[in-house]
Symmetry: C2
Subunit: 190 residues, 2 copies
């Protein structure tokens, strides 16, 4: 997605060799009109698929997933939680996800009410790095007996191997901007 790549180059900040900071439009500060076009592009890529639910994880996936939902005819958006809220009183599915960027391990949880065997799920997230978050989301769908139709990532740091690994597992992955390398403050796309 050309506009996304330009935005990454003009507004993104390369940090070291692993991180691109896009808090100016994708997380922290949100350019919602732009994210709506990102959502439209996800719909274009997955237009051939039957999807009845969008799954993401809090917090930075929520905006993109919501804007995408409109273009898919407003299926429910479910976001996995990283903490057990006091109101999560019934059973839930859970799967572990390591964040290499943050050096943390989170437990992703979705209430059993909101995922089931009838679900045809599109997973959407802001970043694809080592693929841990998306993998954890696929595990939640699997536990519920549902099927993952595809995985959409806004920015794919392909050099960290996540999308390749998920494709090896048989998932269809659509990334809107694929980064090959971050070096000396410069971001290079594939």
């Amino acid at each position: 997605m050309k506009e996304l790549k330009e935005k990454i180059l003009t507004e993104g900040v390369a940090i070291g060799t692993q991180i691109v900071k896009v808090d100016n439009f994708l997380n922290h500060k949100l350019d919602v009109a732009f994210l709506d076009r990102v959502g439209k592009e996800f719909h274009r890529r997955f237009a051939d698929c039957e999807i009845n639910k969008i799954l993401t994880v809090e917090a930075s996936g929520i905006a993109v997933a919501c804007m995408a939902a409109g273009h898919f005819g407003y299926p429910p958006v479910v976001y996995a939680k990283k903490a057990v809220p006091s109101t999560m009183t019934e059973g839930f599915y859970e799967a572990e996800a390591r964040s290499f960027t943050k050096g943390t391990v989170s437990m992703f949880r979705v209430s059993e009410k909101f995922l089931g065997p009838e679900d045809k799920i599109l997973i959407i997230d802001d970043f694809m790095a080592h693929g841990e978050a998306s993998h954890a989301l696929t595990q939640l769908v699997k536990q519920a007996g549902g099927s993952v139709v595809g995985i959409g990532a806004v920015i794919d740091k392909s050099f960290q191997g996540g999308s390749a690994k998920l494709r090896e597992e048989g998932y269809r992955v659509e990334s809107l901007a694929v980064i090959d390398k971050i070096e000396d403050g410069t971001i290079t796309f594939v």
Copy 2:
């Protein structure tokens, strides 16, 4: 907002005397088409105001804030973070917020880049309870030298006193559904 009240009564679950669980449409599972109408209602209520930015807090405020943004002509949405991400390398404003529901204290943070003296801020959140979250957001705006135009809450548990306290402080608060009482599994609106 009539549709919201009906949705709370049909899909919400009253827990004890303090909690109404609306994970079926407002947090966890999101009814995005409905949240777009919630956003439209916020715009109707604040139509007389000049607003150049919407401020909320992760995670459950993000969806509502994004859907509202479209109706306000897509001002930037900024969400306060509850943890310091590895990419938050510059200065930030911070303010403490206690959650009585969760029994926790969070530190809300917004990068100094994203709030300034020129800002006319609409604060939007999913719930108004004791007003701690909204109060913390007003403090961030104050630190930046900006002004708070108003505070919009989807569900206001008015018996917990938050909206009254914020109005005493001089803020304009617009709540779309105001709950008077939660008792014996029944939710009563004001």
